[in-house]
Amino acid sequence: MQLKHKKIAGLLSAATCSLLSTPLQAEVGDWDVDSAILYYAEDNGRVQAIEPVISARKELGDEEAVSLKLVVDSLTGASATGAVPSTQVQTFTTPSGKDTYTVAPNETPLDDTFKDTRVAYSMNWEKPYDRNNRRNYGFNLSKEYDFTSVSANALWQHDTNQKNTTYSYGINLEFDQIEPVGSVPEPLSSMMDQNKGSATDSRNVLDLLVGVTQVIDRSSLFQINLSLSEADGYMNDPYKLVSVVDSVSGEPIDQLFESRPDSRSRQSLYGKYKKTLSNDDIFTASYRYMTDDWGIDSNTLDFAYRLKFKRGYYLQPRVRLYDQSAADFYRYFLLDTESVPTEASADYRLGEMQTTTVGFKFGREYDRQHSWSVRLEQYVQTGDGSPEEAVGQLRNQDLYPDVTATIAQFSYSFVF
């Protein structure tokens, strides 16, 4: 995923570069290298990730350039399965079906066999078509032990209004193949039965993007993007469960594999504003509204303020606020007295939630060919842990535990 965003960010960056008289960091023939390492850690032994990345861009002359990027993503820790807590010890089968793990009374079930390493490559080629038009092509490959993603994209950009306005038109085609540990589970079948189907399944994704970048005055500009995304195929998380509980006691009596729709259609509107103030500080604000046919609506606000100091030092506080409504088929649990619906997921990521990210970035730009920065942020995710529909012992449980994560990043950029 990040591949995709880096690639399109790179493409749009090229557009903005051209729009703004092409401020190049590197001379023709030089490699402009960005490197970074991210550490992400959730509290209470949940997910931890270490993610080094290196990205290199080479100017070929006449505004033509190629970029390459390599990302390695190493994940460990425990992930919430979607199953509800119980007053009793619960025993779950691992995804392979060959082993079991237990969850203590009144604890949120977590699958601690969660471990993954992802390697992602991307390349991009950008070349002007004429004075006011540019084309960009990208290719991406991402591989995990149970997931492979291949995608290709193209972006056309047109400058007008003395290069004060740039229109962008992008398309991305993606093919994902899922090869879950223990094969693909039958949706809404019992975990106990281990009713598994084929070894692999797949989905296709089509993304379209139309955007405008507009210079407002000497110190400010804005960007507006409209995005459409259509995904078809296997949309489940093969490791997520939905509990069936006794309608009186609230004790879980079965665990089913989740079932999502086999397609998803999303639209989003994104706006970003950036301004250099009279003291040279920079204010950035962005907003995104997203809606989809799963019933999820979300709002994202992001603010950053870069305070500039002498000798190239800067400090950039940042706040991100996010909220989303639940998917239509999101259920905390199913009751044993109801007929099993055709779609149900207890994946907390599809539930109603609010999240906040607060932090800062501190860095130094020595000159246009050399810089470093450190970023430190805290991410907090909250939801309704005591829903009205809770029955029996579930009324005493936290059915949507908060997630708190620390995000730390070190970046270093140079030219050679």
Partner: protein, 73 residues
Amino acid sequence: MKPAFRWLLLGTLLVLAGCSSLGVKPWERNILARDDMLMEADALDLAFDEHIYFSKEASSGGQGFAGGGCGCN
């Protein structure tokens, strides 16, 4: 298309229509030409953020494509 999205889209088009006369002359771009005024300044930060939030939330994309590319959601 949901009504809220339709209204946002309409508002956006009106704003864009009103902005057609905005802009600066080529010799007035000294501030805009700075690297930290690029819309995609700190591209690696943006990429990391997208990966994190794609993994933890149900929304993605906006500034770029919304697709997947990762088995984390």
